[in-house]
Symmetry: C2
Subunit: 209 residues, 2 copies
């Protein structure tokens, strides 16, 4: 039997559009017959390398006003709960991303990632503090304290750094990003459908290359 | 008989995603029963106010690489010819925008605007020089030399400036932008469908406001 096509989903916990993608990728990928590999990463170092010390939605206020309104509209269109804004925005995502990086070898990565996003953008809660991350892990029936300790070990911190270097070297400049098995990069929640279509070989652009 | 709902289409001639929107907005608006008001403007002064002295796709190379690939894929998906890149990118759009601003009172605005985009992104031609703009106008059976002279008059240059101030004061930060009659702002070619739906009163987000 041929292997199912795969799609890498690179997501940042502080990112509103990563949230929208995270809440809908499973159903769409199931319908398309695509296996999703969830790839948590930190977009901060990539933004810093571009000279941004905060979210572009804070640095460019008109862009930020549109983003919040757009995410509100998109959440409604996608049938998600009304968006609540965490304070501050963006949330420091280091603890959650460390835990998720450790979770890449465990079957709780996806439910944990969705729990972080729901707390942050459907409930407007802070997810920055280690205690908040522990609480979310505990809520999944896991031992959050133990996991966060393992997530803070040097091995896992190194893996987080290596993932960030991989992101940059593969051309990632924002989140969410979808990468197909043949290296095709799609940026933004708006491109999820096209990325899935590409992954299964539906490629209008390829016909004339 | 009730007035047809309207949608303002703010576009910048140097913008690749404005090109994609320009080539498909007529058919989609016709299907939706929406009247489109074409609003040419210069995005350069708005970018300059944000501290950008060139296109963000040049300032941020990884973002730029994705944009060109994405526009290629999107053009294929939308059934448009393969995208050719004008050199340099972005093209100086002052002459074409002056002509289009003058054209806002004439019935050739839309065919002229589409002719500029096709020359620039389907043929990869320069549209920056006044002579190129004259040629495109002549190609539509108009007197390009006379039009460009009228477009360079102080009255028209003032109108172009006022349009730019209107864009900024209404929250526009990039192109293309769609504005509905009730002031709802949608940024980007990807939001054309949602903007049209909003214009005709199909507003999932409004139900819980």
């Amino acid at each position: 039997m041929p292997r199912r096509p795969t799609l890498e989903f690179w997501y940042e916990f502080a990112s509103t559009y990563s949230y929208l993608a995270a809440m809908r990728i499973e159903a769409l990928a199931e319908d398309a017959g695509v296996e999703v590999r969830w790839r948590p990463f930190l977009v901060g170092p990539i933004f810093a390398a571009q000279g941004w010390n905060s979210s572009p939605f804070n640095l460019y206020p008109a862009k930020g006003r549109h983003m919040w309104r757009d995410v509100e509209r998109e959440a409604a269109r996608l049938g998600l709960p009304p968006v609540k804004r965490p304070d501050p925005f963006p949330q420091n995502s280091l603890s959650a991303t460390r835990a998720a990086t450790y979770g890449m070898d465990h079957d709780w990565l996806v439910p944990f990632s969705k729990a972080v996003y729901e707390a942050e953008f459907a409930k407007g809660q802070s997810v920055a503090e280690p205690s908040a991350v522990v609480g979310l892990l505990n809520g999944l029936g896991l031992d959050g304290t133990v996991i966060l300790k393992q997530a803070a070990a040097e091995t896992n911190k190194g893996r987080l750094r290596v993932n960030g270097e991989e992101a940059r070297s593969r051309g990632i400049f924002g989140a969410p990003t979808f990468l197909t098995g043949d290296g095709e990069l799609f940026w933004g929640n708006d491109r999820l459908e096209q990325a899935l279509a590409w992954a299964v070989g539906d490629r209008p652009g390829a016909m004339r290359e």
